[in-house]
């Protein structure tokens, strides 16, 4: 019997260790697993490395983790969104480390981790400051930079529906990093708007097969 459903948000984030690398889905506000991040805040893990596209805005989700001093380092592509006040404050004060990664490289590094690959060469950023200190190779006449896989200890993802095997479908552009992050973490935790019965998801339309998912929690709304 496989049943990846858990009863509460607290159960969903149980066991996340201090110092964990946590992949957090979302692009802007779309697809951010807000309730899971708040559960992690309650859970109390500290000294976290957060991997996410933006650095949180306002007072919720990743911004709240930063505000409460739980984040040692952030790995992201665009930490300068409107309302990213807590990141900016911690960054200016030197209280948070930033690893800036081109967005496609961020996603592909996690894909490489999920796919069991040792990294890849990409032309993106090869002529920029972001390739400093990294291996450069000319492939087919073009400069490429070597990028390492990015493996998470935990992924926090938001999807639309799941069955008890953890098969997932998403909603519109809230899908974004979710499917890749789910493959790239030791523990993949998903919040969904709705549980459905096994067999109710169209197998042709499943986006994330349940093999990549460890825990699912229902968060209505």
């Amino acid at each position: 019997m496989i049943d990846k459903r858990v009863a509460s948000l607290a159960d969903a984030v149980e066991g996340v260790a201090d110092g964990a690398i946590v992949l957090v889905g979302g692009f802007g506000a779309a697809g951010v697993p807000v309730e899971l991040v708040h559960a992690l805040l309650e859970q109390g893990a500290r000294d976290l490395t957060i991997v996410t596209n933006n650095a949180g805005a306002g007072e919720t989700d990743v911004a709240a983790l930063i505000r409460e001093g739980r984040v040692r380092k952030i790995i992201c592509s665009y930490p300068r969104s409107a309302g990213s006040i807590w990141f900016e404050e911690f960054y200016r004060a030197g209280n948070i480390e930033l690893e800036l990664v081109p967005q496609g490289t961020l996603s592909e590094r996690m894909r490489a981790a999920g796919a069991g690959l040792g990294g890849f060469f990409t032309p993106a950023g090869a002529d920029s400051l972001l390739s400093r200190g990294k291996e450069i190779r000319v492939i087919a006449g073009r400069r490429h930079v070597f990028e390492e896989p990015l493996q998470g200890d935990v992924a926090l993802v938001k999807a639309e529906r799941a069955d008890r095997w953890g098969n997932l479908v998403y909603n519109k552009a809230a899908r974004n990093f979710g499917p890749t992050m789910a493959t790239a973490a030791t523990l993949s935790v998903v919040q969904v708007r709705e549980f459905v019965e096994l067999g109710d998801l169209d197998p042709e339309a499943v986006v994330t097969p349940g093999i990549f998912v460890d825990r699912v929690v229902e968060v209505a709304g």
């Binding site: 692009f27 592509s77 081109p102 967005q103 490289t105 993106a124 998403y170 519109k172 974004n176 890749t180």
Partner: protein, 225 residues
Amino acid sequence: MTVAPLSHADMAARVAQDIPDGSYVNLGIGMPTLVGDVVSDGKEIVFHSENGILGFGPAPAPGEEDWELINAGKQPVTLATGGCYFHHTDSFMMMRGGHIDVTVLGAFQVSERGDLANWATDDAHLPPAVGGAMDLAVGAKRVLVLMMHTTPDGRPKLLQECSYPLTAAAVVHRVYTELAVIDVGPAGFVVREMVAGLSREELQQRTAAPLGFADEVGVLVPSGR
């Protein structure tokens, strides 16, 4: 300068003329988004958004916004008939892998070799942010830049060498400003079109790299829009 420069709407319309029917197009945030409002004339263009949309349509009516259907600038959009969703890794495969026909990007600076600087200035107050700019610049088949010819305080943005950090080297094909349409290639900057009434010398004065001129330089006429 007594000549009337092109409006932003005219600049966007001029870019739109150069986008072939059937193209897959990614528009950068800022002024390039205007191009989406003026591509029409029976052309079927599929707009790509880095966060996982092909075939997005115009902004929804007020009150109809769906905040899980947003574009790269985090603004609500709609899905055109035939549009679809996909995840980030697939989206950047499209961008980096040469599947996007045309991208229209804003820029801080462009060099005569086509180097693009559009992600960071020398303002140390702001944390650096790059988003998808580097993936798009290296991957799109054709990179068009839509920008003002100079900074607000009159400094040239078309240069021999970019002084700001590069997004990518030797990627820009053509630049559209309020004054001119300029090709970028092995011969450096070559002016294809200039706004009515502007002299070659006046354009050169606003440009910090030598300008070549096409055999026949077309005339850009403001529409009044």
